[in-house]
């Protein structure tokens, strides 16, 4: 059996999964310290269905900690960004086009150095170790504790980033963490570098959080290996998570969608995840979320890591209701729902209170919302339904019917039928879909490279690219017999000689539990 845990801003959910069947499911409030919420949730599972440590093959955790830390600009490490590429790129140094408060929050310092490659693999200029040593001295005196390194065309040749790390690490010592852009993003220097800087700023928090997660699991008497969910709904081990916290950014919506797929038996559908603060709408095709094309802006910063295409609106269970129901959200009481909502004896009218008053949910004390006027209740629920339906409509990609699956604790806010879309599917255990998505996650490998395809060699190049993705999935812990290519894309690049083509391939397989036990 596996345990899936979803640590959200409001709730901590946990499920015990026997294959694709939910053996136990609990929901607890997220504690400010995270740890005790997880321990409580695990104890809750144990109460529902007693299990022994030996029964548990793996524990999977999805968390929104890192993206929330960025959005709130808190607990970010002082970060230096070193870019290799001079004399190119000099006019647009690292942190260009960033929101100033975020740069200040991480005391961001940009550095430019020689290095980088041309599109065809030649060096733009050789690495200059003395230049890097001078930068290291400045970084040390500035107090930066985390360093992001980017290099022009590093997705094609990563050598210079690795060499620069060696030089800088020797100067700065082992306590400074390094994040390298070729391991994080793809072609598009600024966007890849931005994602790398964000990762660097989150490295210290990653250590704290991952240690906390590991100790709460161990503290509950579990010795099974621990994994974290990544953006694409696949898994990474704890060591990887310490180094690449940015890879968890979109795991919340992804897990929710994939959990819904398993629960509803629909593998192509729109999934509406109504949480405490937002409703996230995504589309699942054959069990995997459709990915956003192009750049994704996170907290005002342009990045290009692959995120599921999710449209969010500020409607959730904790959303404030104002103007007699005409205004819902976007602000929310968040994790304070259980103290501030009317049904819990608080004084704030929230969407949850409206759902309870309408008889759609049995949460808290229904007697406390009896006094609400029917007009306010109806108006608020209509507003919620109309706005959610509009977002689903916008996410549709074809005229073909697209089933709608509602999940998340706040999905009681939705009616049984959405106008123009039809029946709303509410799978059993839907309130813990995120945790289920985490528990059923698989392992992936992917490549995203530019190839020069000479005459008659196309099929060989394509085969090589596919094989490389498969090999990476297996290296990441996938059972070789279960690995298959789930996504393949080739786009010719204009104006480059030699039929340059960008190929992206992604392979996914089941976690080979025996192979990765650590």
């Amino acid at each position: 059996m596996r345990i899936g845990i979803d640590v959200g801003g409001t709730n901590t959910d946990a499920v015990l999964m026997d294959g694709n069947t939910v053996a136990a499911a609990v929901k607890r409030s997220t504690s400010p310290d995270v740890t005790s919420g997880i321990i409580e949730a695990l104890a809750g599972l144990q109460e529902q269905r007693a299990f022994h440590d030996d029964d548990i093959e793996a524990v999977m955790i999805g968390t929104t900690h890192f993206i929330n830390a960025l959005i709130e600009a808190r607990r970010l490490a002082p970060t230096a960004a070193v870019r290799l590429g001079l004399p190119a790129t000099a006019s647009l140094p690292p942190f260009v086009d960033w929101p100033a408060p975020l740069v200040q929050a991480m005391r961001g310092r940009p550095y430019l150095a020689h290095g980088g490659h041309e599109f065809d693999g030649r060096e733009i200029s050789p690495l200059d170790p003395d230049e890097l040593k001078r930068h290291a001295a400045d970084i040390a005196s500035s107090g930066a504790r985390s360093v992001a390194i980017s290099s022009v065309f590093s997705p094609i040749n990563s050598e210079l980033e690795l060499q620069a790390q060696e030089v800088l690490q020797a100067e700065l010592g082992p306590d400074v963490a390094f994040s390298l852009s070729h391991e994080i993003g793809r072609i598009g220097l600024l966007e890849r570098e931005n994602a790398t800087i964000i990762n660097a700023a989150l490295r210290e928090l990653a250590t704290t959080i991952v240690d906390g997660l590991a100790s709460s699991v161990a503290g509950s008497g579990l010795t099974a290996p621990l994994f974290l969910s990544q953006n694409d709904g696949t898994l990474m081990d704890v060591e990887y998570a310490r180094r690449y916290p940015v890879a968890t950014f979109a795991s919340g919506p992804t897990n929710s969608m994939r959990g819904a797929a398993v629960l509803s038996g629909l593998d192509t559908c729109a999934v509406v995840d109504v949480g405490g603060t937002t409703s996230d709408v995504g589309v699942l095709t054959q069990g995997f979320p459709r990915e956003a094309t192009g750049e994704v802006t996170v907290s005002g910063v342009r990045t290009n890591f692959r995120m599921p295409d999710v449209l969010s609106i500020g409607i959730g269970g904790g959303s404030l209701i104002r103007e007699n129901g005409a205004l819902v959200g976007p602000d929310s009481v968040g994790y304070r729902l259980t103290t501030e909502a009317l049904v819990f004896g608080g004084s704030t009218l929230t969407a949850t209170d409206v759902a309870v008053a309408a008889g759609r949910a049995d949460i808290g004390d229904a007697g406390l919302v009896k006094h609400l006027p029917k007009a306010t209740i109806d108006r608020a629920l209509e507003e919620i339904a109309a706005r959610v339906a509009d977002v689903v409509e916008r996410m549709r990609t074809s005229a073909a019917p697209l089933p709608v699956v509602a999940v998340g604790g706040g999905s009681v806010l939705l009616p049984d039928e959405l106008e123009g879309l039809g029946k709303v599917h509410r799978p059993e255990n839907f309130a813990v879909a995120n945790a289920i998505g985490a528990a059923i996650a698989q392992v992936s490998g992917e490549i995203d490279k530019v190839y020069a395809i000479s005459e008659g060699r196309r099929s060989t190049v394509v085969d090589e690219a596919r094989q490389e993705a498969v090999d990476r999935a297996i290296a990441a812990g996938a059972d070789p017999s279960s690995v298959e290519i789930v996504d393949f894309d080739e786009v010719p690049i204009p104006y480059l000689p030699g039929n340059a083509t960008r190929i992206r391939a992604k392979a996914v397989g089941d976690l080979a539990l025996t192979a990765v036990v650590k």
Partner: protein, 371 residues
């Protein structure tokens, strides 16, 4: 574009506030190509921050004896977003050319208002402290050096310079503008596929007869129109079509897309199934670097040189040929190119046959070009 110039506010200078709108509008005139203006916008913003605002001169006000140099990027947009250019290399390309010719430039011009080359002349003008001409050589985007109106007036692209970020430059002398394209393209590859160029040294008199007036102002107006229409909950796509005196051909969803590489140029076809009032209609969009031909239910509705613009159906944001994805909800707008693009010589330069489509040119309103 002549039909609506009356409503376009005339730019007199460019500072940081205008550049974002200008780049957004330029992406619309880019008709799917011309490169992502994001990096161009950042470069222009950085240049204006460092050197101060750039004065903009209306085409009609340019003295006959002015010495005008066009500044542009050349190469692969994919490389430009990775190996970011330096601001100084734009000025360097201009200096390499004017020093060699022993002339003093008085103005900088934009040769291509569509895409990234709408902002690169701002960088050159700011670096050199020269005024910028409000106009361009195309009124849209095209992929090759010779595909500009000055070619039709017999004006030469070369002497033309090519400069990289390392300090290398070369000056080309060629027998015609197609050779300028060919030799500059070869040098571009050797220099890492993203270079700055200075080209089409024209007198004020030559410039005034051969350039499209007011296109930088038009770009800013287009960008502002998009933002304002959205803010007012008005239809941004309709606003863009009106400003360009064009029409909304169809609204639909991309249902199929295929891309092939053919002799170094990406050639693609997208199928768009009509939605809403266009339900049951079906469009076929053919593109290379730009959108070049669109058919609806088997009838050719518009071809190059007129403008075929694909916009996000909701937001009105332009969608590039590379950014076209299955499932995207789009509206296709067609709009007239400068009328000088509709001579026989112009069609040989940039009509559908030049791009390998065996058809006569069709105007933006679906009618054939009058003989």
């Amino acid at each position: 574009m002549t039909a609506s110039t009356a409503v376009i506010r005339q730019l007199t200078k460019i500072d940081e506030a205008q550049i974002r709108d200008l780049a957004r509008g330029a992406a619309i005139l880019g008709t799917g190509g011309g490169g992502d203006p994001y990096v161009g916008r950042l470069l222009a913003e950085a240049a204006v921050r460092e050197h101060g605002p750039v004065d903009v001169v209306p085409l009609v006000d340019v003295p006959d004896d002015a010495v005008v140099v066009s500044a542009a990027m050349m190469g692969a947009p994919t490389v430009m977003v990775e190996k970011l250019p330096t601001g100084a290399q734009f000025a360097q390309a201009v200096r390499a050319l004017t020093d060699r010719l022993g002339i003093l430039p008085t103005h900088i011009a934009c040769i291509e208002a569509g895409g990234v080359n709408s902002t690169t002349p701002i960088v050159a003008a700011a670096e050199l402290g020269l005024p910028l001409i409000d106009g361009d050589g195309m009124g849209r985007a095209f992929p090759e050096v010779q595909m500009v109106l000055p070619t039709l007036y017999g004006h030469a692209a070369a002497p033309m310079s090519v400069a990289d970020e390392k300090g290398n430059s070369l000056v080309l002398d060629t027998i015609d503008n197609r050779w300028a394209e060919r030799l500059a393209r070869t040098a571009t590859v050797e220099m890492g596929c993203s270079v700055s160029t200075a080209q089409y040294v024209l007198s004020g008199r030559q410039l005034k007869e051969s350039f499209v007036p007011g296109t930088l102002s038009l770009c800013v107006e287009l960008g502002q129109t998009l933002v304002q229409a959205r803010a007012a909950n008005a239809d941004p796509v309709a606003a863009v079509a009106e400003l360009l005196a064009g029409r909304i051909l169809l609204e639909g969803k991309v249902t199929d897309i295929e891309r092939r590489t053919h002799t170094g140029f990406a050639r693609g076809v997208a199928h768009i199934a009509g939605t809403g009032t266009d339900e049951a209609r079906c469009a076929v969009l053919r593109f290379q670097n730009e959108h070049l031909m669109v058919e609806v239910d088997g009838k050719i509705e518009t071809t190059s040189p007129d403008l075929i613009i694909v916009l996000d159906a909701e937001t009105g944001e332009p969608i590039t040929t590379e950014g076209l994805r299955y499932g995207a909800r789009v509206r296709v707008v067609t709009a007239p190119a400068d009328p000088r693009w509709h001579s026989e010589a112009a069609h040989r330069l940039a009509g559908p046959a030049y791009f390998g489509y065996d058809t006569c040119p069709v105007l933006f309103d679906g009618t054939p070009v009058p003989a």
